[in-house]
């Protein structure tokens, strides 16, 4: 009951932020940045479930984003599917792929799990890069329009592309956060956190560890896939970079930067790491340098991530 009220309070704050933020936008361009933040945050929320709840790392989740993105690019072209349905198809494929590879991969731990997932991600991006006939290779391919904007216009609602995607991505993030918070305070969520704490104790209370890990893996894969689809749809164009190693690393870094233990930590991390390069566009060459330094410094000085560390500081002052 308490937990339920807290959940709605948190979601309310997030919704208010999404609605009110545009009041402070200096230009229409910021709708694009906002939409990008929400999309990244969505995939990071998925990783919070995998890493933060269940304690399993993945360095290959961009592979699922790639499946989602290319499903939206390919399915309308080859199967005549509506882009919206293509997104669902992508999520389905990602879920099935995660189910199939998750079973053997999740038996591994620590570094081995990290490298196995990384291997999956790289194979995925290799396929997307090499199958030129289908994917256009490294140059990428264009993505059909969702048609939502035209539909809204007929209803008399004139929105710019940026505004519309800001709204769509914001709603997707709210739904994603709601589902993740539901899971946190549910039997499955407790089972995931329990196996994170002690696999042996979790199994002796009847938790099927392999099954719970697999659930977390599949759920997070679907999050990444939908985020990949949204990214493809709003850009109208997609390249294999979406499935690349660097994208996987960025996702994990966002999750860990904000605080992988909480949904809102993940969202904060996504916001910072998405916005930072926008600030640094003048110094584009410094982007990698800064990203690398941020990763190291946060892990050394704020190992729990920003949000819990800030929370603790405030808590201490309150005492």
């Amino acid at each position: 009951m308490m937990a339920g009220r807290r959940k709605w309070l948190q979601l309310g704050v997030l919704a208010a932020l999404i609605v009110l933020l545009p009041l402070f936008f200096p230009s229409g361009y910021y709708y694009r940045v906002g939409a990008l933040i929400f999309v990244n945050a969505l995939s990071v929320v998925g990783l919070v479930i995998l890493i933060g709840y269940a304690g399993q790392i993945s360095l290959g989740h961009a592979g699922f984003a790639g499946i989602g993105a290319y499903a939206c690019a390919l399915a309308p072209q080859h199967l005549g599917l509506h882009p919206g349905l293509a997104m669902l198809l992508g999520a389905l494929i990602s879920g099935v792929v995660a189910l199939l590879i998750g079973r053997p991969i999740l038996r591994l731990k620590g570094y081995y799990l990290a490298v196995a997932t990384l291997g999956f991600g790289i194979l995925m991006s290799m396929v997307l890069t090499n199958e030129r006939a289908l994917t256009g290779g490294p140059d990428g391919m264009s993505v059909e329009d969702l048609g939502l904007r035209a539909m809204l216009r007929e209803l008399g609602w004139r929105l710019s592309g940026g505004e519309m995607w800001y709204g769509v991505s914001g709603i997707a993030l709210l739904i994603g956060a709601w589902v993740a918070l539901n899971l946190l305070d549910s039997p499955s969520g407790r089972a995931m956190r329990a196996l994170h704490g002690s696999e042996i104790a979790a199994s002796t209370v009847g938790i099927d560890i392999a099954r719970q890990k697999l659930r977390a893996f599949v759920i997070s894969a679907v999050y990444a896939s939908i985020a990949g689809s949204l990214l493809a749809l709003q850009n109208g164009f997609i390249t294999p970079d979406v499935a690349g190693f660097m994208h996987s690393i960025e996702m994990v870094t966002m999750a860990v930067l904000g605080g992988v233990g909480s949904v809102f930590g993940g969202i904060l991390g996504a916001a910072i790491l998405t916005f930072l390069p926008q600030l640094l566009t003048v110094f584009a060459e410094y982007e990698q340098l800064v990203l690398g330094a941020v990763m190291i410094l946060v892990m050394i000085f704020l190992p729990q991530g920003l949000l819990p560390s800030i929370g603790r500081r405030i808590g201490r002052k309150g005492e």
């Binding site: 890493i51 790392i57 360095l59 053997p104 991969i105 591994l108 620590g110 570094y111 081995y112 990290a114 490298v115 196995a116 990384l118 291997g119 999956f120 790289i122 194979l123 290799m126 090499n130 042996i200 190693f245 690393i249 994990v252 870094t253 860990v256 992988v260 060459e285 410094y286 982007e287 990698q288 340098l289 800064v290 990203l291 690398g292 330094a293 941020v294 990763m295 190291i296 892990m299 050394i300 190992p303």
Partner: protein
């Protein structure tokens, strides 16, 4: 037959480099239980620094030595500034730190040097040597020879010197090593320096063949890691065998199956090894204690 021999030559050459990278992983992993994802950056630095020191007028040999020393210093700095402060952190944190270090080094390299592909002249010219219908570059002999010398030297170091034995003792049981008076902190520093130097040497040897740019490290690190895992994590002999096997597999795949997907071999090997024999060829199994 000639083609096969040709593939074997090129496989052994890249395999020797993978073996050196795998050896670098192994040394650090043994001393500190850390898997250093920045290992490939050491190779890249070895090549890049040599290129620019040579361009600045230094003789090639001197430029190479300078590159190895500077890279070793960077390895030590990595340990002191990023790994030691995070001692005892969960594996996820350590993974992020070393990946962060690799991105940082890459970013710094492209700022200090540039984003172009570079090479410097091969040590003994570029005239291929004919062997039974196939050809081999003199530089390939340098690479394989260099790798063998490093492995032999290291074997002597670990079995014949007190410091080497201290490293092995630390790998075996850190606390016990501390109790018998081994300075495990110094061992870690030594391991990072040594591992970085070996990586840099690999970079110096291979650059005339494969060229170097700021972003070659990631792929090398991943393949070195695949090799280390194939041989059995933490085992130098495994690093050598794993590296050569991976190099051969890659060359044969490129030759007979698909050159586009030759890079996929490493990851298929990783996944196959993990699923079929998680301990690798020379690894030991372990039981979790409750």
């Amino acid at each position: 037959m000639d083609a096969l021999l040709q593939f074997i030559f090129s496989g052994v050459t890249v395999g020797a480099v993978y073996a050196l990278v795998a050896l670098g992983f192994t040394i650090i992993y043994n001393a500190s239980d850390v898997v250093n994802f920045a290992q490939g950056e050491f190779v890249m630095l070895g090549g890049m620094i040599t290129v620019f020191a040579h361009q600045a007028g230094l003789p090639l040999a001197l430029a190479a030595v300078l590159a190895i020393i500077v890279t070793a210093a960077i390895g030590v700095a990595l340990n002191k500034l990023a790994i030691e402060p995070a001692r005892g952190a969960p594996v996820v944190s350590v993974i992020i730190i070393t990946i962060g270090a690799s991105i940082l080094i890459r970013g710094a390299t492209q700022l200090i040097f540039d984003k172009q592909l570079h090479r410097f002249p091969a040590f003994s010219g570029d005239d291929p040597i004919r062997v039974m219908g196939a050809t081999i570059l003199p530089q390939s002999l340098w690479v394989t020879g260099g790798a063998l010398v490093v492995f032999a030297g290291l074997w002597l170091f670990f079995t014949r010197t007190l410091t080497g034995k201290a490293v092995l003792a630390t790998a075996n049981n850190r606390i016990a090593a501390q109790l018998v008076g081994i300075n495990t902190g110094a061992i870690m520093t030594l391991s990072f320096g040594l591992s970085a130097a070996i990586g840099a040497l690999a970079g110096v040897l291979i650059t005339p063949i494969t060229l170097v740019s700021y972003d070659v490290g990631v792929a090398l690190a991943l393949k070195g890691f695949a090799a280390a895992m194939l041989g059995g994590m933490g085992n130098p002999k495994g690093a050598l065998v794993g590296g050569l096997m991976l190099g051969l597999l890659e060359a044969l795949t490129a030759g007979y199956l698909s050159s586009q997907y030759k890079d996929a071999v490493a990851f298929i090997v990783i996944l196959a090894v993990l699923f079929v024999m998680p301990q690798g060829i020379f690894g030991k199994s372990s039981t979790e204690r409750v």
